[in-house]
């Protein structure tokens, strides 16, 4: 409803928490509390937000693209170790199989258990991030300049893989409502790679992926951190229905909601860089209320502008959870 630009009975929400924040919540609400149940999100996300990984021991994981992740410091996503593609060539590299059952593991059960929710299949690290996890961050930026043909080739193959996954998901699980693409392009100011580079290398493949999702009749939601305002028109043009995380420190939340209502929805908006960690309960209440008020006219789904971090006082977490849930009463 919200994604179609219509007015909802109340503002829907979908909030995530990091492991450290979850620990705080357990300490507050009790160990046996099911946080999913407590928060009662409107989305259920299947798939994987940062790739499919298996444990290989020594606090390391390996994803299906062959990337090794060191989990010692960063426990949610991990930190890339070594390079799968040290040179700008795909010689000797084999792409993962989009039919790998791991990609669809447990989907049936989860769908059956969450029939009342908006069911999303998450393709995390969907393009640029997949590229840099394979080539390394610095190489990724340099490749745009030095090896444009290679970049286009690898981007295309990554998109082809995703398109094959989207096809499988949509054909096998008609209950899925939408695809959730994660890929960070924004910095605190503007795009990390600049708009020209984004348009030349990233946008063509996004359009292909999004057109495929549309062809299956699904919604498409995207996540990109940072200041992505300059590309919102292009994203709308490519058929995006919803943009997350809507970082309020870098985007003018009120202005964007009003400008784009009916064209694209926003999901996020509660400050994780300022209000949640440093604000008082009153600050959190005021900002949350304002967002919910803005969202009454539609085009908005509530959540903090990133998984809530462990530095957020528990009182602040409780404050926004109470407010969003109170809407239903």
């Amino acid at each position: 409803m919200v994604l179609d630009g219509k007015q909802p009975p109340y503002v829907p929400w979908d909030c995530k928490f990091t492991i450290e924040a979850l620990d705080k919540m357990k300490a507050h609400y009790g160990d046996d509390v099911d946080v999913e149940e407590l928060v009662d999100n409107h989305f259920i996300k299947l798939g994987a937000s940062s790739g499919f990984k298996i444990n290989i021991g020594n606090d390391r994981k390996k994803d299906i693209f062959g990337v090794i992740w060191d989990m010692t410091h960063e426990k949610d996503i991990g930190n890339v170790e070594g390079l799968v593609l040290p040179e700008p060539t795909l010689d000797g590299y084999e792409f993962p199989d989009p039919n790998n059952p791991m990609l669809y593991d447990g989907m049936e059960e989860k769908i059956a258990a969450n029939k009342d929710k908006f069911i999303l299949y998450s393709i995390g690290f969907s393009l640029f991030e997949r590229y840099w996890t394979l080539r390394g961050m610095e190489n990724a930026f340099l490749d745009f300049m030095m090896y444009p043909d290679f970049v286009k080739d690898l981007m295309r193959k990554i998109a082809d893989f995703n398109i094959a996954v989207i096809k499988n998901v949509c054909e096998r699980y008609p209950e899925v409502d939408g695809i959730y693409f994660g890929d960070d392009w924004g910095a605190q100011k503007k795009l990390m790679m600049g708009k020209d580079v984004w348009i030349e290398f990233i946008y063509p493949e996004l359009k292909r992926m999004y057109a495929n999702t549309k062809a299956h009749g699904k919604y498409q939601l995207i996540h990109s951190c940072g200041d992505i305002e300059e590309i919102i028109p292009e994203l709308i043009e490519a058929g995006v229905n919803c943009i997350n995380p809507f970082q309020p420190e870098v985007l003018d939340v009120d202005d964007l909601l009003n400008t784009y209502r009916g064209k694209v929805a926003f999901h996020g908006g509660l400050s994780t860089q300022k209000t949640l960690p440093y604000g008082t309960v009153e600050d959190v209440v005021a900002e949350t209320k304002h967002l919910l008020e803005m969202g009454k006219d539609g085009g908005y789904i509530f959540c903090p502008s990133h998984a809530t971090e462990g530095d957020t006082p528990i009182e602040n977490i409780v404050a926004f959870i109470d407010l969003i849930k109170a809407q239903k009463c």
Binding site: M137, E138, M145, M146, Q188, M192, M193, G194, E309, D311
Partner: protein
């Protein structure tokens, strides 16, 4: 001569590494930073002059354009690569006459923080502006900063944090360094960091972009 300095500064500004490098496309088959630096040295120009009159000039232009959002991370990295190619020729000369670099800058992301794109850019820009840079990498503890500061007396320390969670560590590290030796100058930066925070934790300088650190260093380091 002036013309070669200008050409070299241009190569740094636009990221032309060497002749074979395909970037930028409109400089195909032209000499890059590598060849021109060698040519200048062959003509008897001092490494110091090359650094001051060409490399720093080019790098400063990049810094300003980056600050104004006219170029982005890829272009800055290309400039840094061109700079590396030039410095490879100059370093042996500097090694023979210590002190020709302007000063030393120690940088790292604070404990718990793995975001290093911004830190790397700062390191490159500072290096490109004639300073020796000691890059301690990511997830760096207070002790390591202090150790490095002991090793390079007079060095300025740069701390980078991209997370509100690691800003707390930035505060602790700043306090630890200052209580060890309060004369060590500390610069801080990163997306969530601001001037208020800098004042609060007692760091010496906050800057939202690399060019700002360079300006601070140029003022502070004599």
């Amino acid at each position: 001569m002036e013309e070669l300095f200008e050409q070299l500064a241009y190569c740094i500004e636009y990221g032309k590494i060497n002749k074979p490098s395909p970037f930028p496309p409109d400089m195909k088959d032209k000499d890059g930073a590598d060849e021109i630096t060698q040519q200048l040295l062959n003509e008897g120009i001092s490494a110091d002059d090359i650094l001051q009159k060409a490399l720093i000039v080019g790098m400063e232009k990049v810094g300003v354009k980056f600050r104004e959002n006219k170029v982005f991370v890829p272009q800055v990295l290309m400039s840094a690569k061109a700079m590396d190619a030039a410095m490879a020729h100059l370093k042996p000369h500097f090694a023979n006459s210590p002190g020709s670099q302007k000063g030393t800058f120690i940088i790292g992301t604070v404990e718990g923080d793995l975001h290093d794109i911004g830190k790397n850019l700062v390191a490159m820009m500072v290096e490109g502006n004639g300073y020796e840079v000691i890059d301690l990498g990511t997830d760096v503890k207070a002790e390591k900063f202090i150790e490095a500061a002991e090793q390079y007396p007079g060095a300025v320390i740069g701390l980078s944090a991209l997370l509100t969670t690691t800003m707390n560590n930035m505060e602790e590290i700043t306090k630890a360094i200052k209580s060890h030796n309060r004369n060590i100058a500390i610069c801080i930066g990163g997306a969530p960091v601001n001037q208020d925070f800098c004042d609060k934790i007692g760091a010496d300088s906050y800057n939202p972009d690399p060019q700002g650190v360079v300006e601070f260093l140029n003022k502070t380091v004599e």
